[in-house]
Each structure stands twice: as C-alpha cells, then as structure tokens.
Symmetry: C2
Subunit: 243 residues, 2 copies
C-alpha cells in the first residue's frame, strides 16, 4: 500500500491540462496497484502547484524571455513547506531548468526524461532510432539526446519547418483547440517515423492529450504515463533516486 | 485577466477523481473567460493538496471514526505556506468541518454549499423543493438544509434505505467502478424527483463524475461546477467573501 509518509510534490501548470492528465494517470495506476480491495485512503497523496504563470520555457532557452528557474525554485520550496517529500515535474521542456529545482530543496527529484529513457531501454531493447516529439526548448537544450546517446540510441527530433509546425500544434492544444492540435501533432509523429524512427516518445506533455499508440505504426511512449507509473512506485515505497 | 497575486488553495483528494474533475472545470471556465486571446500564462493558479488519507467524513459525523478536522486544518496551513491566497474544498461532506479549515489560517474560504445555494436562488427562482444527492455526513450535518431553509426552499435528501443505496453508488465511483455507480446514483436522483423535487443538486462531488442534466427530467445543479465558476471569478479579482 501507499507509504503515507510519502507525499508527492508536483511542479505543474505547464500547461494545466497536462497536469490534470498526469494526476488522472497517477490515480489510474494507484488504483490498479491496490486492486479491488483499495480504499480511497490508500491512494497517492499529490501536492500540486499548477502554476500557469511560469515563464515560457521555449523563449527562455532561445534567449528571448526570462528564465523560469526562479519561479520553479520557489514552487519547489512552497511544495516542500506544504509537506511534499519528493518532487516531480510533468513538463519535458521545464527539465532544461531541472538544476534550479534540484538546488532549491533537499527533496529527491524524479526526472521525467531519465525515467522515460530508462523505460524505453527496458521495454524496447531492439530499438535504436528513437523519435522524440519535442518542443523547441527540449530540443535546443538536447534533453533527450543527452539521455539517449550514452545508451547508444539515436535521437530524431523535429527541426526547422517541421519543428515550427509541431510547435503550432502544441500551442493549439494549450489553447484548448484539441482537434487542430491533434491533426498537427499526428502529422509530426508520422514525419518522425518516415525519417526512420522505430519508436516515438511523446516528449511534450501536451501530446498525450490528443495522441495515442493507435495513431502510429510504431510504439508511442507517453512520457507522462511513464512518470505517473514511477510516481506511484516511489509513493508506495520504492527507493528514491539519489543525486 | 487573472490576478496573478491570487493563487487558489484547494483542499482535495476527497476523492482524488473529484479533485481532478474540479480542476478540469476551473480550466474550462478560465479558458472561456479569456476567450481566444488567452495564453497559458493567463490561467488560474491552483495549489492543490490531493490528500486521500483524510479520515472518512461519514464515519466522523456518525461518531464512529476520527474527525478529519485536524488533517484539513494542517492541509489549509500547508497550502497557505505554499502561497495560496484563498481556499476552496471540492468535497461537500467535508464542509461539516469547514469551521476547522476557516480557523486554521487567515485566508478567505469560499464555501461550496453556500455558493451552490446562491446559484440555485439566482438561476431557479421559481423552484421551492430542492432535492439533494447528499451522503450521510452531509445529510446528518444538515449542511444543505441549513443553507436552503432560511431562503424558503424545502430540502429533500435521501433517508433510510434510499440513503444506504446512494452511499453504495458513491463508494462504487470512488473505487473507479463508474458504470455501477452511475446506475445507482441515477436511480437515487430519480427517486428525489418522484418525491417532489423540482431541481436536484449533485451535492456530492462524485456524482458529476457519472451524471449530467440529460439523465433527469428536472435541472441538475453540479456543485463542483458552481464552485469552479466562482473560483475563476474570485481568481480574476471579484471581492472575496469575508467571515
């Protein structure tokens, strides 16, 4: 059962719908872990700061906007004060500023991108070319490349016009225009497959709001779902990562 | 636009799916208030303690279990430390312990049941007999009766075997068995209409997870949705209730 002493601090709001999606997946995996005997009281405690005012990660990495680092550090500290015992951040691009979060409190930090790449290595050992639906900040900071390449994976991320087009899809989803967002990100995913990807990571938390494995001819790995599963495992007592 | 100084503290996890439903409704009304020009950064900031370990409200009101008051007070204080500037609690039954929440911090508290009854009076002036899908704690503490009767409404709540049956439906929903929960609470709602209700309040946050107005011959008021709309209004600057 859940270790009641473990409360998960969630740095969220990037965007708010992605945070809700993450919480729903935590609940799903928490209920599955309990089985039919589960009581409401056995679910995972989440303390969530869904703060949509965090500065845009893409502008920050591009050098055209303020860093979200200070806001994320303040959120981490607030979550610690509210009782969180470890931290997660269901936004890929914000991991360009993970060092600010880690430095802000003594709490363990569960790293979305590391956990996702570990899951790919464990479950898809034959794969070599990994497509990543990554926004500009994630791509420019080489977040997935830095995790994938030491494990002999080749990362394929959208570049140039394809990246601009993918960003349009993400902005549409963030604005609640799911149908137009879905069409664009499905096109982006198929372009990664056409470029040789054996598997595609939904490396932006807006993507799984509109896309699932049925939309593609190769496996689609939902980084949000990976983080949710790992969050439940850690909340139920698995040893937390040390840094 | 949203007043960036107003962060909403949410006492949640009762149950976790109801908290997610509340957050989704806040996002919906927040996006609607912004219109097409809305940016992610303009959405409402929610700081949420989704704490499923809060002791059962029904057992506490019945005198057969510990009070959730101390846990709710500690959550309120944690949310204040994390930066919340006013508090909401998307669980009807927990309002039997609203005094503990209000006493725990100096923050304004937006009262789910008062807001819901105000919405009924404003939008359904002709109605006199109000059915309330209320769990045992809500009914035994007379939370809706105390708000409705001074305004000359008559409250009709499930009693006896009908209440037991409704509780079975709520437990099914909390356990994730939505189909069986839906069948039972729809039957409970229709029984209130048969008993003379001109309108039914979904006075338990699990109910709107499975039931909507199309399921009934009279209006169904979703208390979660009322609270979400009011939360967005307060976050965007409306004068907060004073106590």
């Amino acid at each position: 059962m859940t270790d009641a002493r473990r409360a998960v601090g969630v740095l969220g709001g990037m965007g708010p719908a992605a945070t809700i999606d993450f919480m729903a997946k935590v609940l799903l995996h928490s209920q599955a872990a309990q089985g039919d005997a589960g009581r409401e009281q056995d679910n995972v405690r989440l303390i969530v700061d869904s703060n949509p005012a965090v500065p845009d990660r893409n502008a920050a990495v591009a050098g055209t906007g303020p860093s979200p680092g200070p806001a994320l550090a303040a959120m981490a500290q607030g979550l610690a004060r509210a009782g969180a015992t470890f931290l997660v951040m269901p936004c890929n691009a914000a991991h360009a500023f993970a060092a600010d979060v880690i430095a802000a409190t003594p709490l363990p930090f569960v790293h979305l991108i590391e956990e996702t790449v570990h899951a790919v290595r464990r479950d898809h050992a034959h794969v070599r070319r990994v497509g990543v639906l990554a926004v500009a900040a994630t791509a420019d900071a080489r977040l997935y490349e830095r995790a994938l390449e030491p494990l002999d994976f080749t990362a394929i991320v959208p570049t140039g016009a394809a990246r601009e087009r993918f960003m349009e899809g993400v902005w549409a989803i963030k604005a609640g225009r799911l149908d137009s967002g879905r069409a664009i990100v499905a096109e982006s995913a198929r372009a990664l497959v056409a470029a040789g990807a054996d598997l595609v990571i939904a490396g932006c938390t807006e993507v799984p709001l509109v896309l699932d494995s049925d939309d593609l001819s190769v496996p689609l790995i939902d980084a949000t779902d990976v983080l949710a599963r790992r969050t439940v495992a850690y909340a139920r007592g698995e040893a937390l990562p040390q840094r």
